[in-house]
Structures are given as structure tokens and as C-alpha cells.
């Protein structure tokens, strides 16, 4: 699939390294906030959501080449669909599980 120009350019893949380290740092931070940080549940959830959004950006920019070129229309549709489903899972789960606060 790769064209020849791409193959001949053998520079070190710095973007991948930055992305890899960045995604691990964000994961460790998320774990630290949940396990160690003396914060209320509400603020922890807010911080986790912010970290998750950063994580998505890192994946899109460093691994999924979102900035590289303009592709066919289905690229934007796919990204939009991805965000829709992510929103459905996160917001949906939070909403579905709200009753739990009354139960516990």
C-alpha cells in the first residue's frame, strides 16, 4: 500500500514515540487521580473526562494521521460517527448508571 516516496524517507518516527509516551502518561495520570488524589467523585469524573479527550486527540494526531491530508468525504463521516459512538458510550453509561447513586 505504501508508495515509494514514503519508503525512501527513512527518518526516525518521532511522532509515534511522542504519541506513545503521551498516551502512557495520560493513562498513568488517570490511574493516579482515581486511586490517590483526595478529590470528590464529581471532580475526579470531570478530570477523567478531560484526560480522555486529550487521549483521543493524541491517538488521532500521532497515530491516525488526521492532520496529514484531505481525503474522501467518508473520512469526516467516519470521524463524526466515531465521536457520536464515543459520546453515546460515555454519556449513555453515566446517564444509565445515575440511578445507582440512589441505590447505594
Amino acid at each position: 500500500m505504501m508508495n515509494k516516496e514514503h519508503l525512501s524517507k527513512k527518518s526516525f518516527p518521532w511522532a509515534h514515540v511522542i504519541g506513545y509516551v503521551g498516551s502512557i502518561v495520560l493513562t498513568v495520570l488517570a490511574l493516579w487521580f482515581t486511586v490517590k488524589a483526595p478529590l470528590s467523585q464529581g471532580s475526579i469524573i470531570t478530570i477523567l473526562l478531560a484526560l480522555a479527550i486529550l487521549q483521543i486527540l493524541i491517538q488521532l494526531i500521532f497515530f491516525m494521521h488526521i492532520t496529514e491530508s484531505r481525503g474522501p468525504a467518508y473520512h469526516s463521516i467516519a470521524i463524526a460517527l466515531g465521536f457520536l459512538f464515543t459520546f453515546a458510550v460515555v454519556a449513555g453509561s453515566l446517564w444509565v448508571m445515575t440511578f445507582n447513586s440512589q441505590v447505594q
Partner: protein
């Protein structure tokens, strides 16, 4: 570990001991036969190391049929136990294990591989491609599925099957309530085969978007290819939820965390939520390609273009999106508020609308068509009323207040068997009959197939219609027996008869395949059904490079158009042949699957040394692949000419 395994077998049910002996004997038989006929090299070169999408499809099909047999035997054992009140055929524990393995196997190791088989065989041929986008990854997917299924099936002879239902909800599935390796088998085998499924989803999306022949725009794609695209979109968005749910449950069981135990602030309801975020889209993953299969079959055997092509495409896409917003209807009774339940009830009912559009389009395609009642068409016709009833009962269940009454009763069992058998199984069998000549070069015998069809269909209604009544009478699912005073005996007995009729139907399919290998009508033209899409332009079985020359597509139903214009896609223009670039075979996918299997087996029994060895194997395989220079090989024009002439 081995001592406990021996102890387990010693104390096991005679049924399990007999199966263990049968497995060992079968294995010895296979090894002896392969050695005697000197077939090891052939097996290794032609099948195990292959990256050819057609062969991978055939291997998926064989595994799916074997697993269908296993899941079917599970079903018959359950129905035998329930035939009379107070039966003593299976004990409670064994019954729990059997309904768990039946559900898991039928969804993940029958429906999934069977539809992967259809995808692999038909999609690259329909879009005019030489293989899938990532042939190596395709082989990795197959071997992960294979070893996942193997790990799952080992459970009942080595240490005990999972017994917490195919959903394995905590706290029941936690270590505190289900000690022993059973649930670990479930978690790890699903995890391993799940990686393969996600890879297949990505592979086919890329194949469909990037590998189409010149002229095949998106709106000229055959509907089966569209439906696979829709299904793969659902796969890559839904499967990660299962991966997360199983990973957390596995950590709870193996590493002692508390994600789903109440003890340290865990929450079992979160597992239920995550499981169904995957679990409901999963039924659309299984049913969407089947809609595509029916569209191909209805169009071919009515000799008409499909009615409402655009609306078919739109409804496929709508189902794959709306299908993502309905998962809570599996746990309305969990106690979420009226807001949550109403939203998901309405969304669940809304999915029925695009589905209804499709059914009407099939009917209108048949209207004034020249219908030929071949086996694929028979199964398609049987699907329509069956699925309509399944859909109607689905809307009943989607109404949240009604669901409080139906939940956990046999109404639910009858409903989802009606959609999954009447939809997915009928469709996958129809697809198997339809593409069988393309895969193997001969047709399956019609007479034996009709016997199978009628036994299976009548058996289906005899088996599941009484279960609606039983559910309304109060019979709950997952009970291993019931007292005579409940009055459920007669209907249960009728249902069991139906199950056996379906079993006879399956045996007819087996006989049909065996008979047709010898005596089936050979397909000399490559186009036995007078087909409409590009796969029928090729000889059967298809040469491994698929198209000697990539065709140019000028419209929908490309092959039909070519036939109408008498423009033979063919061998006449051999002058224009060019060398073909093909991927190399590789043994790495097999070894990678094996390494995952070893790691999974180690984790099942908390043997971390074995698990580490397996995981190191996985990493070594990945490094090997990353550093290996594999640029494929070229087929010369002379070789192509030779193969096209033969």
C-alpha cells in the same frame, strides 16, 4: 494443576468422561489418517499457512459447522432434560454449564465465523479485488478465532465449563461465587477471538473502501458488500466494549481487583452496562450481513434488480447507527429511571423501521419476478414470516413496562431464537448454499437439502412457539427442572420434539454435504445460478489470484450487465495480461494464535509461568513480523495463461 485436572475427570459426569474419550480417539484418528495418507505437508502448505481469503473463508465455514454441531448437541441435551417435569438426566450444575456454553458457542463460535466465512469468500470477489487489504492480518484473525474456540471447548473436559450464563454477570461470575477455571476459560477465549474479530472488521472496511475495481463506485456495490461494511463499522465500535468488560472481569478474577465487586467500591452493574454496549450491537453484526445475503439471493432468483437499492443502503446504515442506542433494553428491570427506560424503549422500537423497509423491498423485488425455488431462495422465503414474528415480539419486549413482565421468561428465549435462527441461521445457510459452488466447484444436492429445510423449519416452529406460551405461563429461563404441578409438562414435551426435528434437519445437511462431495452436480461454467455480481464471472473454484484481469465496472449488478451486453469478461484478451503481485504464505499467524492459546491456558489456571511463555511468544511473533522483509511474489503471464486454460 495436572493433579486437579485428573481429579476433575475422575469425578466428572459419565457424559463428560465419554466425550473426553471420544475427543482423544478422534485426535488419534486424525493424526493416523494424516500420516497414513501423507497429508501433513499438504495441510501445512495449502491450509495452515495460507493467506488466501477464499481458503480462510472455507476454514471459517468448517469450524462454524463443527461448532454448530457442538452447540446443537448442547441444545438437545437441555431440551431432553426439560422434556418431562422432574427429569434426572442432567443435574443443576451440568445444566448451568450447558446453557452457558450453548449460548456462547452459538453466538461467538457459530454465527461470527459463519459470517466471516461468507465475508471472506464473497466480498473480495464481488468488488473485483485480488485479496483483502491485509491478507496476513486476515490469517491472524482466523487463527485467533480458531485458538479462542479451541480454548473454550477444552473447558468441559479440562477443569469444568463456565456456568454463569453466556452473559457471565458478576457477582455470580466473580471468584467468590464461581471458583475454579470455568469463567476464566470464558473470559480468555472470548478475549482472544475478540482481537481477531476487531482485526477482521478493520480489514474488511479497508478492503471495501480501498480495493474496489475501477468503476465500482460506492453506490454500485453489491448489497452484500454494503451490508458487510455496515456490520464491520458496528464491529470496530462495539467490540472494544466487550474487550474492556472482559479485561476488567479477568483482572477481578485473576489479579484480585474489585471493578465489579461491591467490596471495595466496585459496581457489578457497570459490567452489565458494558457487556450490552457490545452485546446488542453484536446481534446487528450477525444480522446485517444476512440482510445482504438475502438481497443477493432475492435479486438473483427473481431475475430482477433489487427494488429500492438506495433505501436498502440507507436502512443498512441506519440500523448500524441506531443499533448502537438500544442496549439498555436488555436490563430495563435493573431499576434505571423512567427517562432512561423510555429513551431506550423508543430507540429499540425505531430499529424496527429500517428493518421493515428492507422486508418490503425484498417482497417488491419478488413481485412479478421470475422466481426459481432453489435452496437459497427457499431459506430466504422461510426467513420472512419467521423474522416478522420475531420482530413483532421484539417490539413487545422493547416496551419497558411490558418487559417487566416478560423479562427472564421463556418469551425472551422464544423471541431471540426466532430472530437469531429465523434471521441469522436461515440467512447463513442460504448464503452457504448460494456460494457453495463458488467455494468448492459443485452444487449441493437439492432433494436432500429440501428434506433438511422442511425438518429444520417445521422443527423450529414446533420447538419455539410453545415457548412463548410457557413464558407467559411463568416459566423462567435457566431453570434445570420444574414440578409437574406447574402444568408446563405438555408444552415442554412438544418443544423438545421440535428440537429433535431440527437436529434431524442438521443431520440431513451433513448427509447432503457428504453425498454431494461424491455425486453433486459439478459447476463447469462458474455461474450456476445465472448470477448478477462479479464473483459469478469467475470459474469455480476461483484461481488463487481471483481475476486474471481486474474488470471495469459500468453499473450495478456488474456481471449481469456484462452478460446483457454479451461482453464476455474473459480469456480472449490474454494479450493484455500483466504479471500479478500476490502476498506470500506465512506460518506466523498460526504460531501467533498458538502463543495466545498458551498464554490464555496459563492464565485460566493461574499458572503465570506458562502464561509468560505464551506472551513472550506473542511478542516474538510480532517482532519477527515487524523486522521480516516480506514483499510478496509475482505470478508471470505464462503461469496465468496456464492456469486460465486448465
Amino acid at each position: 494443576m495436572f493433579k486437579s485436572l485428573v481429579l476433575y475427570l475422575k469425578n466428572a459426569d459419565p457424559l463428560i468422561q465419554m466425550s473426553a474419550v471420544a475427543i482423544v480417539l478422534t485426535l488419534i484418528g486424525i493424526v493416523v489418517a494424516l500420516t497414513y495418507y501423507k497429508k501433513w505437508g499438504w495441510l501445512w502448505r495449502e491450509w495452515i499457512t495460507t493467506v488466501d481469503h477464499k481458503k480462510i473463508g472455507i476454514m471459517y465455514l468448517i469450524c462454524a459447522l463443527l461448532m454448530l454441531f457442538r452447540g446443537g448437541v448442547d441444545a438437545l441435551l437441555m431440551r431432553t432434560q426439560l422434556a418431562f417435569p422432574g427429569m434426572n438426566f442432567l443435574d443443576a450444575q451440568h445444566y448451568n454449564e450447558i446453557f452457558t456454553t450453548h449460548g456462547t458457542i452459538m453466538i461467538l463460535f457459530v454465527a461470527m465465523p459463519m459470517l466471516f466465512a461468507m465475508m471472506n469468500i464473497a466480498v473480495p470477489l464481488q468488488i473485483g479485488a485480488r485479496d483483502v487489504a491485509f491478507p496476513f492480518l486476515n490469517a491472524v484473525s482466523f487463527w485467533l478465532f480458531f485458538f479462542g474456540a479451541l480454548l473454550f471447548n477444552l473447558s468441559f473436559v479440562l477443569g469444568g465449563s463456565p456456568d454463569a450464563g453466556w452473559v457471565s454477570y458478576p457477582p455470580l461470575a466473580e471468584l467468590s461465587h464461581s471458583p475454579g477455571p470455568g469463567i476464566n476459560y470464558y473470559v480468555l477465549s472470548l478475549q482472544i477471538s475478540g482481537i481477531g474479530s476487531i482485526a477482521t472488521g478493520i480489514n474488511f472496511i479497508v478492503t471495501i473502501l480501498k480495493m474496489r475495481a475501477p468503476g465500482m463506485t460506492l453506490m454500485r456495490m453489491p448489497l452484500f458488500t454494503w451490508s458487510v461494511l455496515a456490520s464491520c463499522i458496528v464491529i470496530i465500535f462495539a467490540f472494544p466494549a466487550l474487550t474492556v468488560a472482559l479485561a476488567l472481569l479477568g483482572l477481578d478474577r485473576i489479579a484480585g481487583t474489585h471493578f465489579f465487586t461491591m467490596l471495595h467500591g466496585g459496581n457489578p452493574m457497570m459490567y452489565v452496562n458494558l457487556f450490552w454496549i457490545w452485546g446488542h450491537p453484536e446481534v446487528y453484526i450477525a444480522i446485517l450481513p444476512v440482510y445482504g445475503i438475502f438481497s443477493e439471493i432475492v435479486s438473483t432468483f427473481s431475475k430482477k434488480y433489487i427494488f429500492g437499492y438506495k433505501s436498502m443502503v440507507i436502512s443498512l446504515m441506519l440500523i448500524s447507527v441506531i443499533g448502537y442506542f438500544v442496549w439498555v433494553h436488555h436490563f430495563f428491570t435493573m431499576g434505571a429511571g423512567p427517562g432512561v427506560n423510555s429513551f431506550f424503549a423508543v430507540a429499540s422500537m425505531a430499529v424496527g423501521i429500517p428493518t421493515g423497509v428492507k422486508v418490503f423491498n425484498w417482497l417488491f423485488t419478488m413481485f412479478r419476478g421470475r422466481i426459481r425455488l432453489t435452496l437459497p431462495m427457499l431459506w430466504t422465503l422461510a426467513f420472512i414470516p419467521c423474522f416478522a414474528i420475531g420482530g413483532a415480539t421484539g417490539v413487545m419486549l422493547a416496551a419497558a413496562p411490558g418487559d417487566y413482565q416478560f423479562h427472564n421468561s421463556y418469551v425472551v428465549i422464544a423471541h431471540f431464537h426466532q430472530t437469531l435462527i429465523g434471521g441469522a441461521v436461515f440467512g447463513l445457510l442460504a448464503g452457504m448454499y448460494y456460494w457453495w459452488p463458488k467455494m468448492f466447484g459443485f452444487k449441493l444436492n437439492e432433494t436432500l437439502g429440501k428434506w433438511a429445510f422442511w425438518f429444520f423449519n417445521i422443527g423450529f416452529y414446533v420447538c419455539f412457539m410453545p415457548q412463548y406460551a410457557l413464558g407467559l405461563m411463568g416459566m423462567t429461563r435457566r431453570v434445570y427442572t420444574y414440578p409437574a404441578a406447574t402444568g408446563w409438562g405438555t408444552l415442554n414435551f412438544v418443544s423438545t420434539i421440535g428440537a429433535y426435528l431440527m437436529g434431524i434437519g442438521f443431520l440431513f445437511i451433513v448427509v447432503q454435504v457428504l453425498y454431494s462431495i461424491r455425486y453433486g452436480e459439478r459447476d463447469m461454467t462458474g455461474d450456476p445460478w445465472d448470477g448478477r455480481t462479479l464473483e459469478w464471472s469467475l470459474p469455480s473454484p476461483v484461481p488463487y489470484y481471483n481475476f486474471a484481469q481486474i474488470p471495469t465496472v459500468n453499473g450495478r449488478d456488474a456481471w449481469w450487465e456484462m452478460k446483457q451486453q454479451r461482453k464476455e469478461y474473459s480469456l480472449s484478451s490474454t494479450k493484455e495480461l500483466k504479471p500479478i503481485h500476490m502476498p506470500n504464505n506465512s506460518s506466523l499467524p498460526f504460531f501467533m494464535g498458538l502463543a495466545f492459546f498458551v498464554a490464555g491456558f496459563g492464565l485460566v489456571f493461574n499458572q503465570f509461568m506458562i502464561a509468560t511463555v505464551g506472551l513472550i511468544g506473542v511478542v516474538v511473533c510480532m517482532l519477527w513480523r515487524s523486522l521480516e522483509k516480506d514483499t510478496g511474489h509475482w505470478i508471470s503471464v505464462d503461469e496465468i495463461k496456464q492456469m486460465e486454460a486448465s
